[in-house]
């Protein structure tokens, strides 16, 4: 139906193609999926269409996609490793300004595994003489992996607790919400600081006992095998953020569950004998997923920002791990003279968080059927008038 009413631009055709490709894939895995979900596919296309009418949304999407792509391929594109000190080749490489050319030659290059030749340091070098561009590319990986690990667990603790509190009400609700209040009473960052200061030794022991897990995370963070110690500090940040990241979601989801459970279809499900677990996960959750999704998207940037903040305070990533917050911390002593040590990582954080905020705001409009309609009507009016 959407094809008849809406004039599709190139971008819309692209998003339709992506959705169709996904649908075909799902259809291959589960035959008949396309037929069963025809209405849903149409709705997605309509959402994509509304999303494409929002310039901030598109800018945000471009920012996010480039961040994710750089985080995935960045470590392979980087001219140097994140911990290579160029001072080995050139004593002046310390805090070399952008555009400095470094000549790499001789036996040392072979030992360190770098191809000989002339390299231009596009973004300059940091206080240890490490290439800033390489460190930013590795840092993107660090940020993305931490954000994904945090968001894959932390919010869901809150979502599950919020669903239970809102659905059952009474004493269970009281208990869960008072615990939530206790966590909310401490500033999240302070709590995270406390946990990330205590956790690393325990995680180190755990990683030593489980080499498989250690190797998996080393590959995930694109770290060298000898940096298992610093890896523990990153995982400590992840665990610390799990602990402080759920209370907001518990509040949000509890409120929405309270109003959603009054719908008769919830009572109808109970009358049909549907178990509570199903009611929560298949009836209530899908109906409140829109606002949660918006919150998750906005929070993705929030996690990146908080993690950078922790590292800036010297609590997250420890040297020589490349982390945007840590790079700013290392450069802060030399600001404003050697401005590039702060400007570029700062810009990276800014653009990434901005991207998530823009997309989150646009998603809020797109996922809400009422505002989505108004976007569609505006477009129609424009074309007719």
């Amino acid at each position: 139906m959407s094809e008849e009413v809406y004039e599709k631009k190139l971008l819309d055709k692209f998003s339709d193609a992506v959705i169709d490709a996904f649908a075909s894939l799902a259809d291959k895995i589960r035959p008949g999926w396309k037929k069963r979900n025809k209405s849903r596919i149409d709705e997605w296309k309509l959402m994509a269409y509304a999303f494409n009418r929002s310039p901030p949304g598109i800018i945000g999407a471009v920012l996010i996609v480039s961040f994710i792509v750089l985080a995935i391929v960045g470590p392979y594109l980087a001219p140097f490793s994140y911990d290579l000190q160029l001072t080995f080749f050139d004593p002046d490489a310390k805090r070399a300004p952008p555009g400095t050319v470094i000549e790499i030659k001789g036996k040392l290059a072979e030992v360190l595994g770098v191809k000989p030749g002339n390299y231009t340091l596009i973004l300059g070098a940091d206080d240890q003489g490490r290439d800033l561009l390489s460190r930013l590319l590795y840092g993107a990986r660090t940020s993305l992996v931490i954000a994904i690990l945090v968001m894959a667990v932390g919010p869901w603790i809150g979502i599950i607790l919020g669903l239970i509190a809102g659905y059952y009400g009474g004493k269970i609700d009281e208990l869960i919400m008072r615990i939530t209040d206790v966590f909310l009473a401490f500033p999240g960052l302070i709590l995270a600081i406390a946990f990330s200061a205590v956790l690393p030794p325990r995680i180190s022991v755990f990683l030593d006992n489980h080499p498989d897990v250690r190797d998996f995370f080393l590959t995930l963070f694109a770290l060298k095998p000898q940096h298992a110690g610093p890896l523990a500090s990153l995982l400590a940040v992840v665990v610390a953020l799990w602990i402080v990241w759920w209370p907001g979601y518990a509040r949000l989801v509890r409120g929405m569950t309270l109003s959603e459970r009054e719908n008769i279809y919830v009572e109808a499900a109970r009358a049909l004998g549907v178990p509570t677990r199903w009611i929560l996960l298949r009836h209530i959750l899908p109906n409140i997923l829109g606002p949660i999704l918006v919150y998750l998207t906005l929070d993705f940037g929030g996690v990146i920002l908080t993690e950078a903040g922790l590292s800036f305070l010297g609590l997250g990533a420890v040297p020589p791990i490349a982390d945007w917050g840590r790079i700013i911390y290392d450069g802060s002593n030399y600001f404003p003279k050697d401005w590039w040590t702060i400007l570029y990582p700062g810009l990276a954080i800014f653009l990434t968080v901005l991207g998530f905020n823009l997309v989150g705001d646009t998603l809020r409009d797109v996922l809400d059927p009422k505002t989505r309609r108004s976007i569609e009507f505006k477009v129609k009016k424009k074309r007719e008038g």
Partner: protein, 320 residues
């Protein structure tokens, strides 16, 4: 023959919470007893707030009672556990008043109808043709299979809700004003469908409604509720032909008849005022403040539901 559903002295009080403590109770259902025979329809009539829907929900154990009991097929519903409770949830079903919010907006018709089937692990060889068969049975077809509730009209949605209930092969269905949210023309179709299904599957209905015409058409027996109590109970035709309680008489005299001559000739029994608050029902007969024929005894003592003629019960001092 043993009745399928026996309701015994059922009470449900909802606490009214004040700032710190419970201020009082809404006596939504205050001592209700009746039986429903297998394969028959009991029409439960009363104005809004009289506790009809609460009775329906209590019978299905969607609410826990304050006191009293419900026996389904001889078993106490409120003591069922585990497997037996699950089996009860399959046998006894409910169709809700508002078809716009009784279907999950995020599920397709197929998912909505298949969910209870999955929950009760009913073996279905081909889910798609199983659902299509049910859709045909309630007057829909296979083109509706993968659509969402918002794509349907009220009547169609109520058909989906009925199909969802039928998928479980129930014995007993509480119909909670199933047609009051629908257009009159659609109402007739749905009622016709419900009657057909009752005949074909030997279903037992509790038909809750405030629409007396509809109740008369559907019911074998009628129970009239006023402020949480049953004031009159009996075979449908008898109650309609010869109502004994002044409240029932007043209700029936308010049914519009499509004949102006007859309307003018008919004497309307007027009932003044609003129904009293169920938090604080009047002493004696609950209907006495609005009753056109009150006597002293009505203010002092509450009349019991007593058999006046064979099978015809009434709770009124003056009707016996």
């Amino acid at each position: 023959m043993m009745p399928l559903v026996e309701v015994r002295n059922l009470k449900k009080y909802f606490p009214v919470k004040g700032l710190l403590r419970v201020k009082g109770y809404v006596k939504a259902v205050d001592g209700v007893s009746f039986n429903i025979e297998r394969g028959t329809t009991l029409g439960l009539v009363g104005e809004s707030g009289s506790g009809k829907t609460t009775v329906g929900k209590l019978i299905l154990r969607l609410l826990e009672p304050t006191s009293g009991s419900v026996y389904y097929d001889g078993k106490d519903v409120f003591k069922l556990k585990g497997k037996e409770l699950k089996e009860f949830r399959r046998k006894a079903q409910m169709v809700f008043q508002d078809p716009y919010s009784s279907l999950n907006p995020r599920m397709t018709v197929f998912q909505i109808i298949m969910e209870p089937v999955k929950v009760h692990k009913i073996k279905v060889s081909d889910p798609e043709s199983f659902v299509v068969k049910l859709l045909y049975r309630v007057g829909l077809n296979e083109t509706h299979l993968y659509r969402y509730p918002h794509e349907f009209s009220g009547g169609q949605r109520q058909r989906i809700a009925i199909a969802r209930v039928l998928a479980l092969r129930p014995e007993f269905i509480v119909l909670d004003e199933p047609t009051s949210a629908l257009d009159v023309s659609v109402q007739a179709q749905i009622l016709e469908l419900l009657k057909d299904l009752q005949r074909d599957f030997n279903l037992t209905y509790l038909f809750i409604s405030h629409d007396l015409g509809v109740v008369r058409y559907m019911s074998d027996y009628i129970a009239v509720m006023y402020l949480g109590k049953i004031v009159e109970y009996g075979p449908a035709e008898e109650v309609f032909e010869k109502p004994l309680h002044p409240y029932t008489q007043a209700l029936f005299s308010a049914i519009p008849i499509p004949d102006p001559v007859e309307t003018r000739r008919r004497k309307r029994i007027k009932v003044s005022g609003e129904p009293p608050s169920p938090i604080n029902p009047p002493p004696g007969c609950r209907f006495h403040p609005r009753c056109p024929i009150t006597k002293d005894v009505c203010r002092r003592e509450e009349p019991k539901l007593e058999e006046v003629e064979s099978g015809h019960y009434v709770a009124c001092w003056l009707a016996r």
